[in-house]
């Protein structure tokens, strides 16, 4: 099954969930993933033209992550407007403003480390299995990206 089909199935499962399960727990899960959507949009902005050499297209990954989370968020009956360039979080802004390849690489490592921490906290807080699974796979993506970027920079890839 393709990732898109998995997401669609997860969103459909949320829509047909019994009314008893659509209360505070799902509201809480929505509150957890809402800021992550903004973080991914910020990362997509920051990686435009700034993906370190040798790394995969991290901007495209961030866009895919934001889309997946937005699908989950909309399945909860909620919506959020995309962020603007003025609303970038601090680590994304540092990457967007980095002026040299070395600074871009260092800023990208810092951004990925910060996202790993954010998703680790989210995974502990989430309840709905489909949303949890999506967040966990995005956590895995950022942990992988952090290790690969640190390895590219000649740093210890296991130190977050």
């Amino acid at each position: 099954m393709r990732r898109r089909e998995l997401l669609a199935a997860g969103a459909a499962a949320l829509l047909v969930r019994p009314a008893a399960a659509t209360g505070a727990t799902l509201d809480h899960d929505g509150d957890v993933i809402k800021p992550l959507i903004a973080r991914e949009e910020g990362a997509e902005f920051a990686y435009r033209g700034a993906v370190p050499a040798g790394a995969p297209d991290l901007g495209a990954h961030a866009r895919d992550h934001a889309a997946a989370l937005r699908t989950e968020f909309q399945a909860l009956g909620r919506g959020t407007t995309p962020i603007t360039i003025d609303q970038l979080d601090a680590p994304a802004r540092r990457l967007a403003e980095a002026g040299t390849p070395a600074k871009r690489l260092a800023a990208a490592i810092a951004l990925e480390a910060d996202l790993v921490a954010a998703y680790r906290a989210a995974v502990v807080a989430l309840s709905e299995p489909g949303i949890l699974s999506t967040a966990a796979t995005i956590l895995a993506s950022h942990a992988e990206q952090h290790a690969l970027l640190a390895h590219l920079a000649g740093r210890d890839p296991f130190r977050v």
Binding site: R3, R120, L132, T137, L139, A140, A143, F158
Partner: protein, 150 residues
């Protein structure tokens, strides 16, 4: 003579007993957590076994897999489970490390809904660690959602 009320009660008891069969019992949260962690443990043991003789970065990844296996075995035992119930790695070798790293990551992601409290926190750490290892082994690079349960 059996009264109408007794017949109804007897019938109700029969239906109730039929609904209480072993097959219909939901798995307890503890049993579910143990089962999920046994799968994680088996996957990490397989990866550690693949890289037992490796050096350098691959050797470090093997050591990390072994440490995660030890952590999982302790958590399983703490819940009253038996770590030895995890499937033993058979064969193995460096050529299988990439596949086993991917399977370990999938097991960690799949286990999360069964884990709560401190175990969920441990599970989140296992996902992050094993994703880093899988990425460095070339098992998942290029996928925006590594560890998606198969």
């Amino acid at each position: 003579m059996v009264s109408r009320r007794a017949l109804l009660l007897g019938g109700g008891a029969t239906v109730f007993a039929a609904g209480c069969g072993r097959d219909d019992e939901p798995e307890s949260p503890t049993a579910s957590a143990i089962r999920a962690m046994l799968r994680e443990l088996a996957a990490e043991r397989a990866l550690a076994n693949d890289l037992r003789s490796a050096r350098g970065l691959a050797g470090r990844i093997g050591d990390r897999a072994a440490a995660r296996a030890t952590q999982l075995a302790a958590a399983i035992a703490h819940l009253g489970g038996r770590p030895h119930d995890a499937a033993d790695p058979s064969g193995g070798g460096p050529s299988l490390a990439s596949r086993h790293a991917r399977e370990a990551l999938e097991a960690h992601v799949a286990a999360l809904p069964s884990l709560t409290g401190p175990l969920r926190k441990m599970g989140a750490g296992l996902v992050a660690e094993s994703a880093a290892d899988a990425g460095l082994l070339g098992a998942t690079a290029g996928d925006a959602f590594p560890g998606t349960p198969a």
